[in-house]
Amino acid sequence: MFRATLKSLLARKVRLILSGLAVVLGVMFVSGAFVLTDTLGRSFDSVFADGFSEIDVNVAAKPKVQVNEMEGEQTVAPLPAALVDRVKQVPGAASATGVVNADGARVIGSNGKVVTSFGPPQLGENWTGESELLKLREGRAPQAEDEIVINKALATAAKVQVGQKVGVLTAFESKKRDFTLVGVFGYSGDRDSIGGVNEVFFTTPVAQRLMLGEPDVFSSITVQAADGVSDEKLRDDVARTLGADFEVKTGEQVAADASASLKEGLSFFNKILLGFAAVALLVGTFLILNTFSIIVAQRTRELALMRAIGASGRQIIGSVVLEAIAVGLIASVLGLAAGIGVGALLAFLFGKLAGGLTLAGIGVPAAAVIGSFAVGLVITVVAALLPALRASRIPPIAAMQDVATPDRPLTKITVAGSLVTGIGAVLLFLGLSGNAGGQTLSTILGGVLFAFIGVALLTPLISKPVVSLLGAIFSWSVPGKLGRLNSGRNPRRTAITAAALMVGIALVTGVTVILDSAKGSISALAQDTIKAELVIAGQQGGPRPPTFDPGVLDQAKALPGVRLVDGEYGDMARIDGEGTWVAASSDIASLRQIFGAKPTAGDIDRLGPTQMLASSDTATSRGWSVGSTVNVQLTRGEARTYTISGIYESSQLTNPVTLPVTAAKDFAIPQPIQGFIQLDPGTRVSDVQPQVEALLADSPEVSVADRDAFIKQQTSSLDGLLTMIQILLALAIVIAVLGIINTLALSVLERTRELGLLRAIGLRRSQTMGMITVEAVVISVFGALLGVVVGTGLGAAVVEALKDEGITDLILPWGQMGVFLGLAAIIGVVAAVLPAVRAARINVLGAIAHD
């Protein structure tokens, strides 16, 4: 039996390769995701290990507000300079150095634009001399107030040379300040940057003032251990001396912690990639199921013969499953290998993008290997199980009869499909209405999965009318008509092939519906409620949002025709111990006049220095009312008590909490992030815009735009997201195309005689190809049509569920849907090429003479 299985496997190489390819692609995604995140993770490890290699023990103040990776950057609280001397006196400490090290030192390049790092921080630091790690390549150390040195990669990116004047924006001064570049440095191992981080070194007092906002403070203290003192002992001694208010860690610990927070982001990324792998594999499952079904159908005579000569039903199942295992194994190995390649390539690209992240060696984590084989094998075997069962039910008599595959009734499959679709709908309803009891995401995903499988089961029933309707377009020509008839010939096969394409298209359509609706709703809301003709904002290129000089606000206010100017600040604060996003407006009147806020209690037109406003949702959930007092800890400074003086109605445009603008100096970013300018009625926007533009000359990170351009810019991040999702889902569509090719190739094989006859009675080669192409196009357009319908349904359901979150408008992307259908037609044509060529090449005589 084993030998027979192996033989039949070899005889069916081509079609198994095609279906195996689907598994290979899915597995590739899985192993690629693991390899990529593992490699990047270890690269970050080594970057940080390097960056902190010279530190034995590091002392820092406990952060006042803990911020996670998703909320933004952690800002450390400053340490008093006097602490350095206390640390020095700890026995076992050879030396202690006060270090200024904070994000937000942005160098303006020779083109007048701020150099961005695309992710890694842009550190502003105090020069404490060269070290093993850091060596000057040119020039000298900064000595005067207006002197800086920067790392080589930054100098290259900014196109500046030693001796030139260089503009720098700093954490506490968003107005450009000019420095003389006196030196350029590099790192050990001839590196120009470590992990794409940009570094600017000032003299210590300048660094303190511009990066930390006050004199005589440091971000941290690095301690060197005396000979014979271990890092751990020194750490414990320092910690004991300083007390519980400080975080004292060894250099290794600091490196590990820094790396861990980045890895958290990576693992999130990994999960997203695995999600897409799951989609690809779902589509692959359809493809394998189809291939094995066809193979079993074609082997009916052979399998029946086996039964007739004594093979048991179980042996038949065994032989089909064995085939599946072989295919799964080979596909897993290939997928794993391809995944390692893809993972390495992506890591390389990521390294390039992140400004030259030095990659650790490409590693293959155990998870990649286990995941690949588990997924590859399980998917293939599960998909082959149904066909195997069908094979075992072939009666031995079938060996003696004509190979007739009667049209089995679709009742059972339709009932099952309705049931599964129903389960999917119920799950979706539960998940989307928030009744899933903490399992919202998995309930929704389960619902989507069930819905897909259910619709796939219903597809054979739908396929008959839809396919003949679609095909009618082509019926004007004989090959077109024949193609149409062929695609309606085996509704199950057509259905599964189309269903595979449906999954990808449905997801893309669904996501497009959701994002377009979100975009449309936000735009509509902004259009309706933001009453500002001009907006000052910039494109965020790293962890830190672009800022501008608050002085611009007053200057703009003084321009003729300007009625109201508001600068918006924001920070992650701890209010009564709970992390909360707080905002501050430079002019509190803007709340009503620009953002259309409506008071629900108290007074929202005034705000005293110890008063604050809250949105109605926040007030309700936190149990606040006018007169409540709360304890607010901002990123910097001491905790303060504020009294709630007013509550405004929540909308998409209101912040949870609004603090007086005087509090903004203690925000992590003490400069305004956005500015809104309202003009007097009758004032032309084009008159004011250039004047504001001129005011922003020293704030090159931002620009002033009219409201529509601003809204477009704000929602453009959604476009990027959409494009990314579409690219990732394209893989699922590629697999579906493989499915179409496979189905057609098998059909051509099955219909050799027929094709021979058609050629014998005068069908031209081109007409033969046309016939196959029509069949492919009908199948793929049918799949896309299903996908668009199902996707729109899913998207609309999600949008409906998000009504309370502000997505109020259901926007259907008709244009996109049209594009998908057009794309499906092209996909069909492309998928038909190989089978069509094969069909056209059929030897007429061979086809007819063949028995």
């Binding site: 027929e754 014998a760 009675i761 031209r764 080669r765 007409q767 007819i848 003479a849």
Partner: protein, 255 residues
């Protein structure tokens, strides 16, 4: 064989010193050894011979389904030898009709659609009078909307015959048309083929190994070992059988 110019104009299909060799070296098989034959217009010719005699090969070569190693084949005014795929397709479309042992109908099309398929592929409309005549002759009037799966073997073969006839080809090649039929259905089909020759002047070349079937023809050409060895005009089943027996004996003696 010698032939006058007048006879040449009469021939619907002609083979001139046709050789067909498969393989090379040790594995070389010579299927046809310089066969020359003419198939006159308006006649029903049967090609007979024991299996392996080359009769099917000769028909395939005549119909342009297979290429010849040497010699020339022509149908009507057209020289088949040397035609490319497009030329052959046009030839098959316009001048040749086929009837196969396996019926070879398209399962997705109705009987009527199958019959009209060659014409629709060529983009031609059937001559309504001729179409009615054909349908009447094959006796399928009430079966036209059935699909092949709903027809008996004999009915399917009659559909295939109608398909070959409806485009009025220069010549119809029939390859063992009764091989898959019971004797009654077979007789029906053969009668029908003979009638189409006698009443409508159709030219038919039929390959068969069944003497009873060959007896329906106007002329029988006998092939053995790739050569034409004998010929009968106005054959009967008995004379055909006798000739076959002689050929077998000759073959045995030769062995």
């Amino acid at each position: 064989m010698t032939a006058t110019v007048g006879q040449q104009a009469q021939a619907a299909a002609r083979a001139n010193d046709v050789w067909k060799v498969y393989g090379s070296g040790e594995a070389q098989v010579v299927a046809l050894r310089g066969v020359s034959a003419e198939f006159e217009r308006g006649r029903f010719t049967a090609i007979m011979g024991p299996s392996g005699s080359g009769k099917s090969t000769l028909m395939h070569c005549l119909a342009g389904l297979d290429s010849v190693t040497r010699g020339t084949v022509s149908i009507g005014e057209t020289t088949v030898t040397g035609l490319g795929d497009a030329g052959l397709t046009k030839l098959r479309r316009d001048k040749v009709g086929f009837i196969f042992q396996q019926f070879n109908l398209l399962p997705t099309l109705t009987a009527k659609e199958n019959i009209l398929l060659p014409l629709s592929i060529a983009g031609r409309k059937p001559d309504p009078a001729w179409y009615d005549t054909v349908i009447e002759t094959v006796g399928l009037k009430d079966r036209l909307d059935h699909r092949p799966a709903q027809l008996s073997g004999g009915q399917q073969q009659r559909v295939a015959c109608a398909r070959a006839l409806v485009s009025r080809p220069e010549v119809i090649f029939a390859d063992e048309p009764t091989g898959n039929l019971d004797s009654r259905s077979g007789a029906e089909v053969l009668n029908f083929l003979r009638d189409s020759v006698r009443e409508h002047g159709q030219t038919i070349v039929m390959v068969t190994h069944d003497p009873t079937a060959a007896a329906y023809a106007d002329r029988v050409v006998f092939l053995a070992d790739g050569e034409i060895v004998s010929e009968l005009i106005e054959p009967t089943a008995e004379t055909v059988l006798d000739t076959m027996k002689k050929l077998d004996t000759a073959a045995e003696v030769g062995n």
